[in-house]
Amino acid sequence: MMLQAIAFYVFAAVLLFSGAVVVTSRNPVYSVLFLILAFFNAAGLFVLLGAEFLAMILVIVYVGAVAVLFLFVVMMLDVDFAELKKGAQSYLLPGLGIGGLLAVELILAVAMKWNFATQAMPAATTPKGITNTAALGHILYTDYIFYFQGAGLILLVAMIGAIVLTLRHKSGVKRQNAWTQISRGPAESMSVVEVKSGEGVE
């Protein structure tokens, strides 16, 4: 229990610290790197909660794929963040208002000990005797199959949309067909010629 408490406070402290650095850092690359650190510590908190599958998926999807793309974009685009942040001060009041509202909601939710969601809690605990991953699978592919498939479909539509928006068919571009290249044999691609001395090849 002691070790778990120490681990929790370390993960939570680093998570909050890196979250703060993400929004305050001047260099956008540092922001993304600290965002990754934040994801990582969130995964650590999931492990402490006994949700090891969610922790691993968080690392694989967010750190391994999404944050890589963020990093790509931030490193390659020459975005002047000082310019972007110039008018940020004028949004201070609405920002603080929304932040404060969220904080109040969170405090209320925790202080009420989730009393308003008595149905949600039993469903969220892992049944005895099966692993966390299997339990998630049992819920996801039975009770919530339509929501799950619907979410998948939305992602698919988003992906197709992005491809359709960026795909350009250029005419007059020579393309390679790997199959014709591989299936080419010596018979159609070379000829052996006996050349007499001093005459050359036509």
Binding site: L3, V29, L33, I36, E52, F53, M56, I57, V59, I60, V63, G64, A65, V68, L71, F72, M75, M76, T131, N132, T133, A178
Partner: protein, 357 residues
């Protein structure tokens, strides 16, 4: 593990003290185990590198390293010494913190992956339920060592190469992910030890998963930047890719991480397709051999194949590499997820019915 915990629990008794608490004994023995294990893995890398060079040399009818130690056995240690005693050069315009952090991340992740690899029945540092996902997460984090190193060196060659290799690694991770899914569907578990035990009646390489073994092999080569997919480095054509600004120990760390990843993927293929620590058939002289030797033999066979590919396959072009990853391997592995699922649901129960389980 249990022996170690018992030893440390009872150790203070010999000095006339109270026995140690379980938590402390567990922590000490686990730490000891990790240190010894990591040390062994690191020393073994020296011999893997030597084996790689020797195989490569033999194909090209050279003798390879043969001066330092008997048969050149100590060559890698000599090279490592050389790197360590060189002056580390940090470019003036480099981002110093990230520049030094990047190789450390690469090497650390390569070590961390070994925590879940079962060397024998029960011989594993961390027997976690999501072992395969853990390995997949670690290997997807490997991209950061590359991108951070390339960006922090503040060199356009290093940076471009880092972007290319990151794109390559991300592309091939997708098909590796689907290959892993097919194995999971067959084994019904994410735990690496369970996956090995599920192969007691037949390795997955001899089932309909054989094409996935081939896909996994090709994707592993691309994932670890081995020839024929070593486009970021292309020893005979370019400078050293994203590592171009690195020298001395930081370079050594990248090199170490690279080879440890290769051996790691060889081990993963042995576990997922070649039955891990299991003997080929469960009969007397074979099942008396310790499981760790079987696993080692399988890793050696896989590593030999990887080395041979390096020696005699010509290098791919970048667009060919992307075509192979996205248009050939990805659809194939996605189709095989469906086939494997159908096999497990429809064919396997029918077979069990016919042959009486």
């Amino acid at each position: 593990m249990g022996v170690l915990i018992h030893f440390f629990t009872t150790l203070p008794v010999y000095f006339g003290l109270d026995p140690m608490g379980y938590a402390w004994a567990w922590t000490i023995s686990q730490t000891l185990l990790i240190v010894v294990y990591a040390g062994l893995v690191m020393v073994s890398v020296a011999f893997w590198i030597l084996a790689d060079r020797k195989i490569w040399a033999a194909v090209q009818m050279r003798r390879g390293p043969n001066v330092v130690g008997a048969f050149g056995l100590l060559q890698t240690f000599a090279d490592a010494m050389k790197f360590m005693f060189k002056e580390p050069i940090i470019p003036a315009a480099a981002n110093k913190a990230i520049f030094l952090l990047a190789p450390i991340i690469s090497a650390t992740l390569a070590f961390a992956a070994w925590a879940v690899v079962p060397l024998d029945n029960g011989w594993v540092v961390a027997d976690i339920n999501v072992g395969v996902l853990y390995l997949f997460a670690i290997s997807s984090l490997g991209v950061y060592g590359v991108i951070m190193g390339g960006w922090a060196s503040n060199s356009k060659y290093g940076f471009l190469s880092a972007l290319r290799s990151a794109a390559q690694m991300v592309s091939y991770e997708v098909s590796i992910g689907f290959v892993i899914v097919t194995v999971l569907v067959f084994a019904g578990s994410l735990n690496l030890s369970q996956i090995v035990r599920a192969q007691a009646h037949g390795w997955y390489v001899f089932s309909i998963l054989f094409p996935m073994f081939v896909v996994m092999f090709i994707s592993s080569l691309a994932e670890t930047q081995r020839p024929p997919f070593d486009l970021l480095e292309a020893e005979s054509e370019l400078v050293a890719g994203f590592m171009v600004e690195y020298s001395s120990t930081p370079f050594l760390l990248y090199f170490l991480g690279e080879y440890m990843n290769i051996i790691m993927l060889c081990a993963l293929m042995s576990i997922m397709f070649l039955g891990g620590w299991l003997p080929p058939v469960d009969i007397f002289p074979l099942n008396a051999v310790p499981g760790i030797l079987w696993l080692l033999l399988k890793i050696i066979v896989m590593f030999f194949m990887v080395s041979m590919v390096k020696a005699f396959v010509p290098r791919y072009r970048y667009d060919q590499l992307m075509r192979l990853g996205w248009k050939v391997l990805l659809p194939l592995s996605m189709a095989w997820v469906v086939i494997a699922g159908a096999w497990v649901v429809f064919v396997r129960p029918a077979l069990a019915h016919v042959f009486g389980g």
